[in-house]
């Protein structure tokens, strides 16, 4: 069921996810489009997430934004955000969740600084911007990096803190799939007044819209965005995985089918979470309502397809 409406306030609104927004030229969403978008969100009972550019909005825009319950996704350095976005590695401190958009190489190089940052932010979401480029050797390195970060997280827990790092702690807390939901639970309104599955689809190809404010939503084959219609993912328990439908399209040409790389990366995280959960529990009771994460013998559920009924 649709629950969220993401509104890109400007052509240069920051990326908060796997995709890049290369637009340099500022161009605000027309005010009447913004008003209509907010109205649409109210009528459809959607939670609105505004995605900001790196400059301050005119007063009239701010008033429309404040006219509805919402959250604000802003580039790092701006005030009054619910989520801050950092593009490229830098050390930050914040009292709201931070999304760190970095390449695998940046993660590998800055692993220790990232571990330190965990104590300086309430939640750190590391988003790798080149998942599709992972090679065999990178998987090995990623596994080691996750193990390294994991022991830092464990130390913080032992010190009585509750750090949150999406790559490691989300899977421990979850009891079911918690994917991005683009096209299923969320849609995006672009500055042109049209709807898209997520901002990535807009920036990649403006013609790829799924409706507009005038005629409403019209997602064709919308069942394919649901977990039940994803043949590999519905057999998977890497519940923290974003199951990025945009990356799916890019790599396998189908929104419901992930690449090998996306699956292996998510399973390395899943397995690292498993180890982390076991380690923390050595120190005392922890998340007693959660079961152990099972040991599995694969990193890509696709390889087990012969066992699916």
């Amino acid at each position: 069921m649709l629950q969220y409406l993401i509104i890109l306030l400007d052509e240069t609104s920051t990326s908060f996810c796997h995709y890049e927004n290369a637009n340099q030229e500022r161009k605000l969403m027309p005010l009447d489009v913004l008003k209509e978008g907010v109205r649409f969100g109210m009528m459809e009972n959607l939670m609105i997430q505004f995605v900001y550019p790196d400059y301050e909005l005119p007063q009239a825009y701010q008033e429309v934004v404040e006219s509805i319950d919402h959250s604000k996704i802003k580039p790092y350095g701006q005030e009054d955000a619910d989520v801050l976005i950092v593009n490229g590695f830098q050390k930050v401190k914040a009292d709201v969740p931070v999304v760190l958009r970095i390449t695998k190489q940046e993660l590998f190089v800055h692993q220790e600084e990232i571990a330190v940052m965990l104590g300086d932010v309430p939640r750190l979401n590391v988003v790798l911007t080149d998942v599709e480029a992972f090679a065999e050797a990178d998987f090995e390195t990623y596994k080691k990096v996750l193990a390294g970060l994991s022991s830092e997280v464990e130390k913080l827990y032992v010190d009585g803190k509750s750090p949150q790092l999406n790559l490691l702690t989300d899977r421990m807390m979850l009891s079911q799939m918690n994917n991005c939901g683009a096209g299923d639970t969320s849609i995006t309104l672009a500055p042109n007044g049209k709807f898209y599955v997520c901002p990535a689809f807009y920036y990649e190809n403006e013609a790829d819209s799924i409706g507009d404010l005038e005629h409403g939503l019209g997602i064709k084959n919308k069942q394919l965005y649901k977990l039940e219609y994803a043949p590999i993912c519905r057999h998977c328990d890497a519940w923290q995985c974003k199951r990025c439908v945009w990356l799916n399209c890019k790599t396998t040409l189908e929104v419901n089918t992930p690449s090998h790389e996306q699956c292996v990366v998510a399973h390395l995280e899943r397995n690292a979470s498993r180890e982390l959960l076991r380690s923390i529990r050595q120190h005392g009771t922890f998340l007693p309502e959660r079961e152990e994460i099972k040991e599995i013998d694969y990193l890509d559920p696709f390889d087990k397809r012969d066992t699916w009924q």
Binding site: N221, T252, L253, V255, T257, S259, E261, R305
Partner: protein, 421 residues
């Protein structure tokens, strides 16, 4: 000895081995075979009216360099292509227009499989579906003689003269091709008595079905495999007309006693039943398990995904002879099942078994760029087929029971293949 002589020697040697092995060890595994298709040309002498190849042309012919690269790549993938047997399929356009190239590719395949000690060396087949026009040419006949025991050749003939000439007309002058094909049927039947022919039915062909099948039986063809086109070509009332033809054909086959020696794939005891959600959830077609290569050296999950076969979508290219196969692009094909791509109506359908689909047509007709939306243009035709099929078996078994012949028939009844594309 020059390389040509070497090859000749090699061929006679391979032939000896093959002949020696033939019948000894039952090496051929049809059900576990990989299907690899070379699209050697996009040219054809004919311009059949139902031909799905929208982009046929005379320019795109496969070069020897591309073909060789393809063979080298494919044979280097032995650990990923583990199927027991292999069918190398040569299609066009009309494949026999490129018989010299095909001959060279086949020689090279045999030689490399032997040199590499490849597990397909004793278990390969070269397969052709041809319009039959130059079947009797010396080059084609030499090729047949050389590759005896490893060939499957099907000549497409659409039925009686009227029906055949309705669709299968020459590109150059629109004339029907029936006479030029039928003159080659006796030679073909002599060389491949066990093979059947393939008939494709479109809306305009419906009135000729009965006559056509009986005509093909009359030519000595014992197996007539038929499918209706998957494209959305059907008109109001076609299902009724189709059903009527199949009923008349059923009467003719049963009353004329043809069922003892002849098979028409329209009638099958396995069709028209509900399908189990879990146990019968397989995909219908083999796209993705197959591999097609075109003149540019691009790989496709099946020929139907190449540009020249598609009306409204971009081709799905899954790699090329230089870079190999992009395995990510195969994942959707290899995980596709029946229910994920079907509408609820099909999932609940009481007569679902035997209702076929073509992944390429699904993709071409889909509302988005997906192979996960099943096209159901044949729905009412399948339902008509099921009704006539029920009639056929009820009538046949009653007759056999009254004659006390049912048990005997069950033991020795001829089998047919359900042809899907």
């Amino acid at each position: 000895m020059n390389s040509h002589e070497l090859l000749l020697l090699y061929n006679s040697f391979v032939h000896l081995i093959m002949s020696g092995l033939k019948g000894l060890q039952g090496e051929w595994h049809e059900e576990a075979s990989k299907n690899i298709t070379f699209i050697v040309t996009k040219d054809c002498q004919l311009a059949c009216k139902y031909c799905y190849l929208v982009g046929k042309n005379t320019k795109e012919r496969m070069s020897w360099k591309t073909a060789k690269q393809a063979v080298d790549y494919i044979l280097s993938c032995e650990k990923d292509m583990t199927e027991d047997s292999v069918i190398f399929d040569f299609i066009g356009g009309e494949p026999f227009l490129e018989i010299s190239l095909i001959d060279r590719i086949c020689d090279y395949l045999k030689m490399r499989m032997y040199e590499l000690n490849h597990h397909w060396f004793n278990s390969y087949r070269f397969s052709f579906t041809t319009n039959g026009l130059n079947y009797d040419s010396p080059k084609v006949q030499q090729f047949i003689a050389k590759n005896d025991h490893h060939l499957s050749i099907v000549i497409t003939i659409d039925g009686n003269k009227l029906k055949h000439n309705l669709n299968r007309i020459y590109k150059k002058d629109g004339k029907g091709s029936y006479d030029d094909v039928v003159k080659n049927i006796p030679l073909w039947l002599e060389q491949f008595p066990e093979f059947g022919t393939k008939v494709t039915i479109s809306s305009a062909d419906i009135p000729y079905i009965k006559e056509s099948v009986l005509h093909l039986f009359g030519l000595g063809i014992h197996e007539v495999n038929i499918n209706v086109v998957f494209e959305n070509v059907w008109k109001e009332g076609d299902d009724k007309r189709f059903e009527e033809q199949l009923m008349q054909l059923a009467d003719a086959i049963i009353d004329g006693g043809f069922y003892e020696d002849y098979v028409c794939s329209f009638y099958s005891e396995n069709i028209g039943k509900p399908l189990d959600l879990v146990l019968e959830n397989q995909n219908w077609c083999g796209a993705g398990m197959m591999l097609s290569i075109d003149a540019l050296g691009n790989f496709y999950p099946c020929t139907r995904f190449a540009a020249y076969s598609l009306r409204s979508k971009k081709p799905i290219i899954i790699g090329n002879v230089r870079d190999g196969i992009d395995k990510n692009k195969l994942r959707p094909f290899l995980t596709l099942d029946r229910t994920t791509q079907s509408r609820q109506e099909c999932i609940d359908c009481e007569v679902a078994s035997g209702c076929a689909w073509c992944q390429g047509e699904n993709y071409d007709a889909a509302d988005t760029n997906t192979i996960y939306q099943r096209a159901t243009a044949i729905c009412k035709m399948h339902k008509a087929r099921v009704r006539a099929n029920n009639y056929y078996w009820n009538k046949l078994y009653r007759k056999l029971e009254l004659e006390g012949m049912r048990e005997e028939f069950e033991k020795s009844k001829p089998k047919s293949n359900d042809v899907i594309c």
